[in-house]
Structure formats: C-alpha cells, structure tokens
C-alpha cells in the first residue's frame, strides 16, 4: 500500500487533489481511498488530505502518519506545519516553490522534489490554483498513477476549456519532474 499526504491551505484544492488521485488509481485498476483531515474548513488555514493506493481493498480508516509521498501546495506551510513529519526515508516530498531545495532545510532523508507550480498555473490557468499542476508533478515523480488515468480523472472533474488547460498544466509539470 502507498500512502500520500497532501498539505495545502483552505481553498487550494488539496481535498480535490486527493480525490483525483483516488479516481485515477482506480482507473489504473488499483484500489484507492481519499479523505480530508476533517478540519473546520476556512480559506487560508492549513489543511491536510490523504490518499491511499493498494492492490487489495483498503480497510484502514486512520489518518496517515508515515506517508510514502508528501505533496506540499504552499511553501509558506513549511514555517507552520511539520510537512515532512513521518515521511518514509525511501519516500518523496514534492513542494511547490521557486526556492532552491537546499534553502528549505527540510528534516527528512526522503528525496525532495521542487517545482514552481504557481508559475505553471499562472501561465496556463491564469490563476494561482496549483492542485492539478502538483498532481502532474506527483504523477511524474512517483509513477503511482498512470498519466492517462490522471488525465481521465481530471477530464471527468473539469469539463471543456478548463479541463484542457488543467491537462496542459499536468503535462507540463509531469515532464519537468520525470
């Protein structure tokens, strides 16, 4: 089983991103689960969402404390949340930032991957909503979900022109980290 923890701020679509991972993984014929960290949702407040992917039906309901992957949508969270907490040494953490990774001073043995998802989102979506871009980066860095399945899950969620733009954002991020 692979466990993924997403960190973001309320309104950045972290819960949606976790749900899309679950839909995409199931499209890959694997079992999946996604759920929010059940906070009192407020725009801007730190939020978490979780996803699990496995080859057997998933029964466990507890939150994720030792993730294989961490996705951080907003680098300012590093000052307030221990985003790498419990991350497996063999895992990966993907952070949206334009800063060099050495400057982040993350306490983890896991591989740190940075991507300027905000820049990609601003160029393509014209909005600083980075969740789909970060999914592209996650897909490229982890290969835990297939790109085609991810695209299909995105197209189900976002129709028409908005869907196409999100697909382009995913492709751009995917290629950057692959």
């Amino acid at each position: 089983m692979k466990e993924i923890r997403l960190h973001g701020r309320g309104g950045q679509g972290s819960v949606t991103a976790a749900e899309i991972i679950a839909v995409a993984a199931f499209e890959d014929k694997r079992f999946s689960q996604a759920f929010p960290a059940f906070g009192v949702e407020r725009r801007g407040a730190p939020v978490m969402a979780f996803a699990r992917i496995a080859d057997k039906p998933i029964r466990i309901r507890s939150q994720i404390y030792e993730p294989d992957y961490v996705i951080v949508q907003d680098v300012t969270l590093l000052d307030v949340v221990d985003v790498a907490g419990g991350l497996k040494p063999t895992g990966k953490i993907i952070i949206n930032t334009d800063r060099p990774k050495e400057s982040l001073k993350l306490k983890t043995e896991a591989e740190v991957i940075t991507i300027d998802a905000t820049k990609i989102a601003m160029e393509i979506l014209k909005r600083p909503i980075v969740n789909t871009t970060m999914l592209g980066a996650f897909c490229g860095a982890s290969k835990e979900v297939g790109l085609e399945s991810l695209n299909k899950a995105i197209s189900e969620r976002f129709k028409g022109e908005l869907g196409n733009k999100n697909l382009l954002a995913i492709k751009t991020a995917y290629e950057m980290v692959s």
Binding site: F26, Q33, A34, F38, P57, R59, I60, R61
Partner: protein, 397 residues
Amino acid sequence: MSEKTTNMKVVEGSYAVAHAVMCCRPDVISAYPITPQTHIVENLSQMVADGDLDSEFLTVDSEFSALSVLIGASACGARSYSSTTSQGLALMYEVLYNVSGMRVPIVMNVANRAVGAPLNIWNDQQDAIGARDVGWIQIYAEDVQEAVDATLQAYKIAEDSGIRTPVMVCMDGFVLTHVYEPVHLLDKELAREFLPDYKPANILDPAHPMTFGAFADPSTFTEFRYQQFEAHQKALVKIEDVAREFEETFGRYYGGLLDGYFLDDAETVIVTLGSVVGTIKDAIDDMRSVGKKVGLLKLRSYRPFPVQALRKALKNANCIAVIEKDVAIGGEAGLVTDLKSAFYNSSIRTPIIGFVAGLGGRDITIKDIRKIVAKAEASRGRIESEFEFLDLRTEIL
C-alpha cells in the same frame, strides 16, 4: 482486481448514499443541513432539481420540523426519508419517539458525530447510541458500501407489515460521509425489484378515517409499548432475512445482525461497530501473522440488540474488549453495558473490558488496537480495570 470490481466507481460516501436513497424512490424527503450530513441532502436536493428523483423535497426550519412533517407524509402512505447528525438528532428527540410509537416506517441516515458541548463537529457515535431507547432500529455501517446497501435494506425491514418500525442507518461522519472509495452504486431496476413501492394497509385517508398517535390511557399504554418491543424481536429475524435476500439479488453479504472476522478460534475478541472495524481488521491481520489469536465481532444491528446471536458468537472467547465511540456519563458506555447484560444470565463468564475511544474525532490507529488487545489479554487472570478511556491525556486534565 477481480471481475467484481468492474462496476465499481470511486465516489464520495455521501453521494453513494444519496444515490442509494434515490434508488429507494422516497415520495417525500425532508431534512435540515448539518455537518457532516450536508453532502447527503445536497446531493438529494440536486437529484430532485435535475428530475432524476421524483420526490417532494421539503425544506424546513429545523430537524424537529423535518422529522415531524415526515410523520404526516408517512402516515399518508408516502415513503419518507431524512438524514441528520449530532445536535440535529438531539433536536429530533421528541419526534423520534412519535415516529416509532406511531409505527411509521421512516428511514434516516445518521452521519454519526459528537454531541456538544463542547462544540465538536467530528465523528463519534454519541448521537445515535444516546438515542438507543427511542424505539428505532439502528444499523451501523463499516464502509461506504455497507451504508449504501443498508439504506436499501432499511426500507424493506421498516416497511414490513409485521415490523413497521423506523430505521436509522448509522455511518461515521466524515470517515464515511467524506471518503472517496470504490463503491458499487445500486442498480435502479434491481433496487425496484428488491424494494417494491410502499403500499401500507393502514393510511390516513379522508374516505376511511383513522387515528395515528392517539391518546392511550394506563389500560392500553403498556400494550402499545409491548407491540413495539415485539416488533424489534421480529426484526431480529427480518434483518437477517433481508440481508440474505439482498445477497441473492446483489451478491453482497456481510452479516445480518453481526459478522465475525477470525472469530472461530479467537481467544481475544474485539467487539465494536462502525467504521473502526476496517482498521481493526488490518490490526488483526498483523497480530495473526505473529500467532496472536485475535478476532473481531462486528455488530451491525445495535437495536434490536441480538442477545442470542452474541452469546453464540462469543461463547469461545477468553476475553472480550469492547471498543466504542460513546460514553454513558454516570454509567459506562452503551455497547459494553448491553453486552454485559446479555451475558449475565448465560453461562458465559468471560471478562469484558470497555474502551471508550475515538471521541470527538480522535483518530484510532492500529497501534491503539494492539494496545487494547494487550490490555484485554492481561485481564484474563485478574481484571485491573473494567472500563477505561483509551489514551486519556492526563497531562491536560
């Protein structure tokens, strides 16, 4: 993945349940939105607005009104549905008795949540367990699929002419209402076959006047109550029958009144209900792999409380740990008290330890389950404590 997964879809628990309600074709829906039940009624409202569900959706000022209008609707022969949680269920309290006493077969999903004060929107089961004596049948779901299936089964149980008793289908708030996971959404036509239209023998009809909820003086009140008690006894059989019938139609079965996991040779048995069952099953797999004979009894039907089935299923256990997300302040907690009471006049003398866990959304992990099992095993010789709050943070008391 097997063939069985081919028709599954990854959807939110609330959507899956709303879809199940749609397949039950209620004539009247009335509900008041409250976290974490909101997505269920939002989805239903959307289905009605889109024309996918031909129901009267009545928006009201409170949960009290929501359930009250359904009494009238159901008494007129309309299949009726509501959903609530926590303070909403508490606000319905008086009406809950009226519904069960008037024998109108309303079905309601309860998205289990803590009851304030202090204010807490997270999951536990205080709301429904606190309403255990109001005369409603209560069925608890382990996962989204069970919540979906139990919703359809609930109408078949409730509307049975020998039972005519309302049913709460309880699903853990957030944990099941907000999770995305693969689910078999119900097939509309199969659901119609399984659950035909509601055609009660006695309804409010000006052409044939009748009274529901009439005055009952001391000469008859006991008999009204007795009939409700008797209906619950009949439901013990009906719940199992309906689960089997459901299996014939849909191919899924996970116990009627209760279900076991590695129960047959288990020395230590955990008894619980709701979504924590999944985490416990994973913990049991771990413990079994190192030779620990641990098993699980999942209670599906809390009301009626299946005394005989529990005695039979638990007769070989050496020790029993009850895990529940509620507390009966001043006593112990609902499930552990009921279980002890079920055993007292039997030959079973197995130690039972009650653990209150997961209150107000506190996470229950595999590590917690291992700790509970270790404590229960240690109690075989001598019970140190028969009831406790798991992981109490004594440093902040």
